[in-house]
Symmetry: C2
Subunit: 371 residues, 2 copies
């Protein structure tokens, strides 16, 4: 049904390929053996993914001549902390993997961030392969080399820039996601259109149903997303400049995630990004940067696919606008006290705005989220 | 008395200088401010170093316009683990340092390894400056970018390659070391002569007393050592080849440290390296690679400065040769089951020997350490 596509990520001696298509788990052993020469791997995964897909992956690796040791962690964001990092790192060492052997991250964003970080520090750097199993991980977190864990001081404040040697995005596994989880990943797909690919956003408006149902549109959407992210990362691997564009919708989104205490029953990351992108467009209209028509188009499309698009769409009580503003100020993307936002001049015309007046953001939030 | 010397470490865009000389703590603020532009730092140190030197460093930073937050850990190897890593990383985040700010490692090898690793993972990489306060740290661990912690599976098996932006080796602080600690660091100084600088080893045989008493010989010996290590690291930053030469004496040494359960009352790292270097030379004689005269010269010089030079010099009971052999086999420098040793063809003529027969090592150990 789907075709296979290769997206190269060009980072000098850290370059690698992203393979996208159906049935890649069944071909994982052959691809990993052929491309890395590794003889042993540790598969870091969570109990949910393991129940659905681990046996197939282990069989495929075995057929490729690769011995695998599974390392299971509990599903969910709570595994992204120092305690699980220590457990996973020790399990990698206990499996007696050598430096040339490979840690496979087999799961969603949490697993990719955690396993990638563990791979980067075990023996000061093991081989690393991503097999992302959520749409969010396939189009966003598995690409670009950001790994890490959360601490009491915030999310992703501890970690490493560590590139995989290979990413295998099997489009078939996405059929096991819940519709809500799929939609949340779709928010990041739409983001690439909104950053700098207006034609892609227009294509999504017409073709989104094929992506959800699993036609060739799905492979194409994932490939364009990975290519978009790879382009940005190749320009700015360590986020000293352009890479910040990938945070479109994320400053508002993170504040909302904090406000809901990362309670996934109320709001998952992609939903926060969806609302955040709508708010970023509306705020850009307020700042006389973008047209109200463009902001309305963004809101309409995200609503059409079933994503939340306003603060009021979040179930339950939220702290007042002033508190949301405080969360924004605490966001890690603050450089020497100045407030940096990703704003836009219209669909596909996002840019990094530095020195955005906090007072303008606060009054905007007060209007969008009245007491 | 001592003069100041600069040793450049050439690693492309990760290049940095090592400044060596008297009074550098008093000039730290000025050097760090001028070379990095940082406005805020966290000083990671242990309680012993803090009691002796912290106030002077904080004053110097303040005079250079830099605000500092001390992060104190307990002295000793036990601080080099996941628990203290988490504490230190959180303290860096709690101090609200930004990416351009700096973590200073102010102490011996444990502090350098721990603080450097924390600097590499906090915010996915902060600025990092080393101010080593032991001879061992000044000539070895502060140079080359290896950072890390220990786990139940072994020492330094978790960490990062992370280069500092600047190293300040203040030769005055070495006067506060115990003679035993100074001697242990001296073993690593002598190592550079034994690896590939026979003239330096001959110079040490004549001038070692000036190094111990703090004359200009001390600055010179540290500078030559740093230059030696910097040369090797520049050739092979990530230890895929030549860098293994720096492990001369370390394979036997690590086995002895393991056998004494890292009990510093019985054996400290530099002492293990001293015995290990003598054993490596004696084993090379046994393998018909080096002359007995050279091995005797190495043993005589290390004994002359007060270092232990044989397994029998270690106080207390040791496990039998077979157990030492097992520790060697478990050493992390094993690649796909083959035993790799640093052997020598004579003073200053060390080389990486792969596929050393384990049986030859075992019978050698049985002779050197009879039941």
């Amino acid at each position: 049904m789907s075709e296979q596509t290769t997206v190269p990520v060009k980072l000098g001696d850290r370059s690698y390929d992203i393979l996208i298509g159906a049935g890649l788990i069944e071909r994982a052993g052959q691809e990993i053996a052929g491309r890395t020469g590794a003889g042993r791997v540790a598969i870091v995964t969570d109990e949910n993914v393991a129940a659905l897909h681990l046996q197939r992956l282990a069989d495929s690796l075995k057929a490729g001549g690769i011995e695998s040791t599974p390392v299971l962690v509990a599903p969910g964001e709570k595994s992204k902390g120092f305690a699980t990092l220590e457990t996973v790192t020790n399990a990698i060492l206990a499996a007696r993997l050598e430096r040339g052997d490979i840690v496979i991250a087999f799961g969603g964003g949490v697993i990719g961030d955690l396993a990638g970080f563990a791979a980067s520090i075990a023996r000061r750097g093991m081989g690393f392969v991503q097999i992302p199993t959520s749409l969010l991980a396939q189009v966003d977190s598995s690409v670009g080399g950001k790994t890490g864990i959360n601490t009491a001081h915030g999310k992703n404040l501890v970690g490493a820039f560590y590139q995989p040697q290979l990413v295998l995005a099997d489009t078939d596994v996405l059929d096991t996601l819940s519709p809500r989880e799929f939609r949340a990943g779709y928010a990041e797909v739409a983001k690439y259109g909104l950053i700098d690919r207006p034609d892609f956003f227009a294509w999504l408006e017409t073709n989104w149903q094929g992506i959800f149902t699993g036609g060739p549109e799905r492979t194409r959407a994932i490939a364009v997303s990975c290519q978009s992210k790879a382009d940005v990362v190749a320009r700015d691997e360590r986020e000293t400049g352009d890479r910040a564009l990938l945070n479109l919708g994320h400053t508002f989104g993170h504040a909302l995630e904090t406000a809901t205490h990362y309670d996934s029953a109320r709001l998952v990351h992609g939903e926060g990004v969806a609302i955040g992108m709508v708010l970023a467009h509306q705020f850009s209209v307020r700042m006389n940067l973008a047209s109200a028509d463009d902001a309305a188009r963004v809101e309409a499309h995200l609503r059409q696919v079933g994503l939340p698009v306003s603060i009021g769409d979040i179930p339950g009580a939220l702290p007042p606008a002033e508190a949301l503003m405080e969360y924004i100020a605490q966001d890690k993307k603050v450089t020497r006290g100045a407030l940096t936002f990703i704003l836009t001049r219209g669909i596909g015309r996002s840019f990094i705005a530095r020195d955005v007046p906090p007072s303008a953001v606060l009054s905007f939030l007060q209007e969008k989220h009245p007491k």
